[in-house]
Symmetry: C2
Subunit: 63 residues, 2 copies
């Protein structure tokens, strides 16, 4: 899975730490997801989608 997290975050001028805090996960988790080391759990994907106000499918893409 690929994702648009880094771009969405840049559009809002948020640091990885800012995003992590809002999602209530560690900064390392945000970094790992952005750099493609692993995919988020489904509940975390829902929180991400809700935070950015868009469907999961427009943030995460099958590869």
């Amino acid at each position: 899975m690929k994702n648009r997290l880094k771009v969405l975050r840049a559009e809002r001028d948020w640091s990885q730490e800012d995003l992590a805090r809002q999602l209530e996960v560690s900064r390392q988790s945000v970094n790992a997801i952005e750099t493609g080391r692993y995919d988020p759990s489904l509940p975390l994907a829902f929180r991400i989608a809700e935070l950015f106000g868009m469907p999961i499918e427009s943030i995460f893409l099958r590869d």
Copy 2:
């Protein structure tokens, strides 16, 4: 997270085994997800949504 898998499967008259085969997971995984023992991984959620032809958000719901 709750989900509508059991209903969607019933609408199509598929057994858990039928669904598992199409998703390329074990029957026990389908059962565990349906009975709420755990949530699917994000990649599996994508396969489920694709199979049923609807967005992830209309199959899985935050509780």
